[in-house]
């Protein structure tokens, strides 16, 4: 089981939850997590596929082959407030 922290709009898309508990076993990868999200929270899964939402593991941006181990800190990161350099 892995707990996925949610931020910004991903909380709304998950029915106003702050985190999700997903059934994963030690050593599965980010792509496995995305499959679970596709099944349970397709709106979030779609944003990950579009690369609008990033997955972080232990506070670093992960890619689909990144392994997730017991105790790892996993989060879904929607686009940051700053956006482009033309933002401010």
């Amino acid at each position: 089981m892995v707990t996925v922290q949610l931020f910004g709009m991903t909380k709304s898309l998950a029915g106003n939850q702050y985190s999700l508990a997903l059934a994963m076993v030690n050593g599965q990868r980010v792509k496995d997590l995305v499959e679970l999200l596709d099944a349970g929270y397709p709106a979030i899964g779609e944003l990950i596929h579009k690369k609008k939402v990033l997955v972080s593991v232990n506070q670093e941006i992960a890619h689909e082959e990144t392994e997730i181990r017991d105790g790892d800190e996993v989060a879904l990161l929607p686009p940051f407030a700053g956006g482009t350099s033309a933002g401010c």
Partner: protein, 206 residues
């Protein structure tokens, strides 16, 4: 285009709205901190390489420096106090550039009543520390402070502050521009705008 209200204040050592007594106490605190934080730096007396040596040590600075010069906090900050904290680092500083981002009442043509900032505790601080360390390494500057607020912020209030101290202005400007651009690219902070029509997570960035 997303436009966040901002004031670009350059080397703004005047124009304070804060009481001078507060400024003096912050300056004193900054000087005291300087005495205790960098014993190695203070041993290099009368030597032109003092700041350069300090820079080389930047990636190994004690956690105390990060806590003072990189902060994510709910409460407002004093621009004067932060300028003085940077200024107190070295008498070799001859130019200070700052960027102050403030909350604007319009976004994409719509009214905004207030903004709530959410951050990823831990990762946000980590990214800001990385930005500080890279700025100290890649630019010819002496110190940089990076602060960002979270929670609900009223229109016109402070959101984010970058203060860069350098020997000369050109590098201070360059590092300041780079730091705020980088902050906006890599720091996990999100913005919820409260508008008359409801709440909107800012997510699109043309």
């Amino acid at each position: 285009m997303l436009k966040q209200s901002a004031s670009f204040v350059l080397a703004s050592l005047r124009g304070s709205t804060y009481r001078s007594v507060r400024l003096v106490s912050s300056l004193a605190a900054a000087l005291l901190d300087g005495l205790f934080e960098h014993p190695a730096g203070h041993l290099l007396v009368g030597c032109g390489s003092r700041e350069l040596r300090g820079k080389k040590m930047s990636t190994q600075q004690p956690a105390g420096d990060d806590a003072k010069f990189v902060r994510v906090q709910r409460e407002d900050f004093s621009v004067d106090a932060e300028i003085n904290r940077v200024r107190g680092r070295s008498k070799r500083i001859g130019g200070i550039a700052i960027f102050l981002g403030t909350a604007r009442d319009r976004s994409k043509g719509k009214d905004v009543d207030s903004i709530t900032f959410e951050h990823y505790e831990g990762m946000a601080q980590k990214k800001l520390r990385e930005i500080r360390e890279r700025a100290l390494k890649d630019f010819d500057i002496i110190e940089v402070a990076i602060l960002h607020r979270y929670g609900e912020i009223g229109i016109g209030e402070n959101i984010v502050l970058i203060v860069v101290g350098a020997e000369h202005r050109a590098e201070a400007f360059r590092a300041c521009t780079w730091a705020i651009d980088e902050l906006k690219q890599i720091t996990p902070i999100w913005k919820l705008e409260h508008t008359p029509e409801g709440e909107v997570w800012v997510e699109e960035h043309p």
